[in-house]
Symmetry: C2
Subunit: 250 residues, 2 copies
């Protein structure tokens, strides 16, 4: 399997590659020639860099030091439902990752795939079996119905575009309370992260907590410090500071 | 790590064990003595055996031939929110799995843990890296917002208790259409399962499809045959034929 420095396929000169990336919207990818010119590893992402699941994959790829191209799929124009993307990704959602002729979607599956396909790269999941289980539990829970009210009422657009001061509904408040309870239990051991070291589950959890914090929620100091610590991680900051086009709601 | 035949802790004679199980509701488990008498591996499950996530873990444990005790957590009485269960399971949901002094919740994390903690047992995820990625993609997608309308309008209670003839909402119909599209793509290779062999992702997908089929939906013959094939798997049938108490809605 290919890792940084051993990318398969034609090497694209840096200048050309930047040009390719700059215009590499989904429209272009339908052109087989553009597709062929791209590197071995491609992340299909939302246009505004606000998807929490794109965030998870983007951070994982950077933590691993893997070079990758990225293609914007305009969800606001339902490009994920085009036949070419739907059939390629199977579940018609972003993020999706292309590795050579293989495409997989769903961020947690992508993260696991990166761990397995590039075993020589830094791990983003804990190496200890039980810590890894806990990380997967957190990642699955973050993506579950339990957090849906937070995801709806504190959309990730409020993190990167415009804040909201809308009051949480009863469901939203319950979900927020549970999120803080779960976080408190996860940090009860007194350490700096969920496990002994940072993992991608910390990135996911901090992202979810930022939906509340960035919109003015007061959280326990220990939780605030945890989120800030994870947020300042360089790979996280790359995502946070992405250049984003004007937002179009969808 | 312990596997069938090497269960750690005191061996409970079969008759006593049955008696323990029979009365092993969450109320009893709060009693430390009962807890200590139980086997090394315990699955915390819903009282009515209708949780699709309990199903996934139950099937995985049986596929692996692992002996386990099971404890009913009465969701209809919100027992999952009791302090002892919430703090133990972290996310306060069933299923949860206890292995010795470690507890993990969220079915997909439990399945991955079983694969790693008992490597000598039969695999329930594909051994090929890309097939495993696809299986994880399916498992994550099945648990995602995309299937929520189906889970709400065709609750798993309709599979094991009383069918519904309620018409699907527009959202429900859209979700059902997508479920069939995704299934068709997954089976497009012409094989009998998502991958080259059965995996736990097939069980999850068939369960979701049964919500529609058992309630009278007409699906393509190929999909129907697939679901029936998975449904007849002995470990699946053990779950399907579980003795269930009278249902109490929650």
């Amino acid at each position: 399997m290919a890792a940084l420095g051993t990318i398969r396929g034609p090497t694209i000169p840096q200048a050309d590659r930047a040009a390719t990336l700059a215009r590499c919207r989904w429209d272009d990818v339908r052109d087989g020639d553009t597709f062929a010119r791209m590197s071995d590893l491609t992340l299909y992402r939302d246009e505004f860099w606000i998807s929490p699941y794109v965030f998870s994959c983007d951070v994982a790829l950077r933590e691993k030091g893997l070079a990758y191209d990225e293609v914007s799929v305009a969800l606001q124009r339902a490009e994920q439902r085009t036949e070419v993307f739907a059939s390629g990704s199977v579940t018609a959602r972003v993020p999706a990752l292309r590795h050579g002729d293989f495409v997989v979607a769903e961020s947690s599956a992508i993260v696991e795939y990166l761990e397995e396909a590039f075993p020589e790269t830094p791990r983003v999941l804990p190496t200890d079996v039980r810590e890894r289980a806990r990380a997967r539990q957190v990642m699955s829970w973050i993506r579950s119905d339990d957090t849906l009210p937070i995801r709806q009422e504190r959309s990730s657009a409020t993190m990167f575009y415009e804040r909201t001061d809308a009051v949480l509904s009863a469901d939203g408040a319950r979900a927020a309370t549970k999120l803080l309870e779960v976080t408190t239990r996860l940090l009860a051991h007194g350490g700096e992260h969920i496990g002994a070291r940072w993992s991608i589950a910390d990135a996911d959890l901090a992202f979810m907590l930022q939906r509340l914090i960035m919109n003015g929620a007061v959280v326990p100091e220990r939780v605030r410090a945890y989120v800030e610590r994870v947020w300042q991680r360089p790979t996280v900051q790359v995502f946070v500071q992405r250049e984003r086009p004007a937002y179009v709601a969808y």
